[in-house]
């Protein structure tokens, strides 16, 4: 039950009941944090000091999400798949909800990349982790659930190379929406993290289906290949959701675009895989189940390859977390944060029409197979800012905090 993915002989082994009492756990270190949650590394004393991760969610700070949290933890406790990080148990400690989970000692792929592979991973490693991710997605979709936030930060790795998808903080149940009368699957709440969001999610109205997870999966593939999702190479203040959807300076994009992605070579199969995930039309994107049969996953390497090529010599999750947090604080001191960004935008708003020519709204994305990147399709903005459609974005604060430094461990809401 603890860390190794034990082989199950009995089809339904009795779930080991972890203690529902905070005194049974001893917190060792902080390994992640988010808007209203902190993730700890801890040991469970009565269970032979088994190492666990505890996500502590401040329920008092998560006002509107409260009911969601209740639903999510219930959903999570009924999921059982080797590639999904499930919870050992959850209970409340005063105003906090503690979700006790297996500790994934190598942390998230995002944190691995940013600390040791800034230019991306080797293709065979990517193939392995993507296949495991697809297994999880396929299971989830089959159960009628959406993940809604597939990205490297939510793909966790254990010391033995096993891969688990985590963070159902924003995941939703398709069945619930489906049963309310309509036959088509539609969820209109905007959720997820901007870089990874499918166009139909950003431009709302069309709802969020399984295929939006497939888009995010495609972006995640690019993230693993290049060391970051498309557009993340823009300066942080330019990379918020609103900048992506509403308008953004063409010149900025050109400046930063050409520096990156220069001479990396990727296989044809890989390019094809990403290409079909990033189809504008959700209906044309293959299902997760179908993607598993893609030629890119033929002769896929195993856990050991990942251990040897990625995990060996990696700094610990705790060390990485400390470094990232220090960096985050440094950035804050320098004033690179989202609030400044908003101010700047207001200045823009007031500025003259000559600026406006430079502001273009992206009307879509085209996947450029040769460059292995997303090219935005620009459209000259219609007159006046009011014509620009704003995405109704309830969780804007989530975005601001996630976009930057905090998605570190991916265990966050």
């Amino acid at each position: 039950m603890s860390t190794s993915s034990s082989h199950q002989e009995n089809p339904e082994p009795k779930k080991v009941q972890f203690p529902l009492d905070s005194t049974a756990y001893q917190i060792l270190d902080e390994i992640g944090f988010g808007v209203s949650a902190v993730v700890y590394k801890a040991i469970c004393l009565p269970m032979n000091n088994t190492i666990v991760a505890i996500k502590s969610i401040d329920l008092d700070q998560s006002g509107a999400d409260f009911d969601n949290i209740l639903n999510e933890t219930r959903t999570l406790s009924l999921l059982s798949h080797p590639n999904i990080l499930s919870a050992h148990c959850s209970f409340t400690v005063d105003r906090h909800l503690w979700v006790v989970m297996p500790f994934m000692s190598a942390g998230s792929l995002q944190s691995i990349i940013s600390s040791a592979f800034p230019d991306g991973l080797l293709e065979p490693c990517i193939a392995f982790v993507l296949r495991e991710t697809l297994n999880a997605m396929s299971y989830l979709h089959d159960q009628g659930h959406l993940h809604r936030d597939i990205k490297a930060g939510n793909i966790l790795i254990d010391f033995n190379g096993s891969v688990k998808v985590a963070d159902f903080g924003v995941s939703a149940s398709v069945y619930e929406a489906n049963l309310s009368g309509e036959s088509s699957i539609r969820l209109n709440d905007v959720a997820g993290t901007p870089y990874w969001m499918a166009p139909e999610v950003i431009h709302s109205n069309n709802g969020y289906g399984c295929k939006a997870d497939v888009w995010s999966f495609g972006i995640t593939a690019l993230e693993l290949a290049h060391g970051g999702p498309p557009l993340s190479n823009l300066p942080p203040s330019k990379s918020l959701l609103l900048k992506i959807t509403k308008r953004f300076r063409f010149s900025d994009y050109e400046n930063h675009h050409n520096k990156n992605y220069k001479s990396k070579k990727f296989s044809k199969a890989f390019k094809d895989l990403v290409g079909c995930c990033l189809d504008q039309d959700p209906n044309k994107r293959p299902t997760a189940e179908r993607l598993l049969r893609h030629s890119f996953f033929k002769n896929c390497r195993g856990l050991d390859f990942l251990v040897k090529n990625v995990l060996l010599g990696l700094p610990s999750v705790e060390e990485r977390f400390k470094k990232t947090r220090a960096l985050g604080e440094l950035m804050k001191e320098k004033g690179i944060n989202s609030e400044d960004d908003e101010d700047e935008e207001e200045d823009d708003e007031g500025s003259s029409a000559r600026q406006r020519a430079k502001h273009r709204r992206i009307s879509g994305w085209n996947f450029n197979e040769d460059e292995f990147a997303l090219d935005p399709v620009f459209r000259v903005e219609p007159q006046g800012d009011s014509a620009v459609k704003m995405v109704p974005f309830g969780g804007e604060t989530i975005i601001q905090d996630r976009g930057g430094i905090v998605g570190v461990e991916g265990l966050l809401f």
Binding site: L20, L78, S80, S90, F91, T92, L97, G144, L179
Partner: protein, 340 residues
């Protein structure tokens, strides 16, 4: 061999009948030939999954209403639901979830524009006893709980549960240490007390005394943060519902209730404070305040006014501000009853 002679496709009714036979088999105590049993159990799980995909469709096809109707009719023609509920603990996790979704879906299926599930449940209402007692069983609670919530969509079923002895147990279930189960029980409790307006109003008036005594002492004054927060929110939902106006009038005329709400108003948790305000405002807005309510409000006037002066919510909310202004006016204008 089976592959050579492809059997003719099974109808939805066939799937139900086979499921039923296998459930009858599964219910019997296991005999010595375990291998055969394993095979049958896995066949059972496959059949349940098949029913699910008929009802919900799958990645290739949308559900067909004719097939759904056939399945529903066959399912309720005999005692399949009872068998399924009884056998649920013997199934593996995936089959339990499939079964739960099947049961959920069947509650909404109409056959010749009739909800036949409702008729079946009326005749087999004791099944609710099994489902509710599921909250006492860690392994089954979430499955039985989900089924239960679907069944109480039918008004007669909800009425049965409300009027049963089980209702008292919910006060304990929603405080179980296992958060998933407690949250599930709380969701069911809320559904029972909000879904069918007339039934709820009738239940609350008939059971006012014990229900609110329990509600106050076990939930609103619980030491558990989540319990208090959920309870005060639900109380607001109940009292603000037009159909419960008689109950509301009675609730806001009690000084004990006022005392409890004022304590909640003083909590350090913003969320609880806000929810408590939505109930407290009813005490203040009541145009026929009993003398003891007035005297409590007058005695605490300055404290209350100070509290409301600093009382803000993060988001702008015109309704909240308007309510607050009115409560402040009401309290400021109060005079002890004997003066008037």
């Amino acid at each position: 061999m089976k592959g050579l002679f492809k059997s003719k496709p099974r109808t939805p009714a066939d799937v139900v009948r086979q499921t039923r036979d296998l459930l009858i088999y599964a219910q019997r105590t296991p005999d010595s030939r375990e291998s055969k049993r394993e095979e049958k159990m896995s066949e059972l799980c496959k059949n349940i999954r098949e029913m699910k995909s008929i009802l919900y469709g799958n990645s290739e096809s949308e559900p067909v209403s004719e097939a759904c109707a056939q399945l529903t009719q066959e399912f309720f023609k005999e005692n399949t639901l009872r068998l399924l509920i009884m056998c649920l603990p013997k199934l593996n996790l995936e089959a339990r979830k499939d079964a739960t979704q099947v049961v959920a879906n069947l509650q909404r299926q109409q056959v010749q524009s009739k909800l036949i599930a409702s008729d079946y449940l009326e005749a087999n209402i004791d099944l609710m006893d099994i489902l509710i007692q599921g909250y006492g069983n860690t392994d089954m609670a979430l499955h039985y709980g989900a089924m239960l919530r679907e069944c109480i969509r039918h008004q007669t079923v909800a009425r049965y549960v409300l009027e049963s002895e089980h209702m008292k147990k919910f006060f304990d279930y929603i405080q179980l240490p296992n958060f998933d189960i407690a949250a599930d029980a709380a969701a069911t409790f809320k559904e029972l007390l909000t879904r069918h307006k007339s039934t709820v109003a009738e239940f609350l008036s008939k059971n006012y005394d014990w229900f609110f005594a329990e509600y106050n002492s076990k939930l609103l004054e619980s030491s558990n943060y989540i319990t208090r927060r959920q309870a005060v929110k639900l109380l607001g939902d109940i009292l603000l519902d037009r159909s419960n106006s008689a109950v509301m009038t009675r609730y806001v005329s009690s000084r004990d209730n006022l005392r409890i709400l004022m304590n909640l108003l003083r909590e350090s948790s913003k969320s609880i404070q806000i929810e408590a305000f939505h109930v407290f405002k009813l005490f203040a807005a009541n145009q026929n305040k009993p003398a003891d309510i007035v005297s409590i409000l007058v005695a605490n006037r300055s404290k209350l006014l100070r509290l409301f002066a600093d009382f803000k919510i993060d988001k702008e909310d015109e309704q909240f501000e308007a309510d607050k202004a009115q409560v402040v006016r009401e309290i400021a204008a109060l005079e002890p009853k004997d003066h008037s």
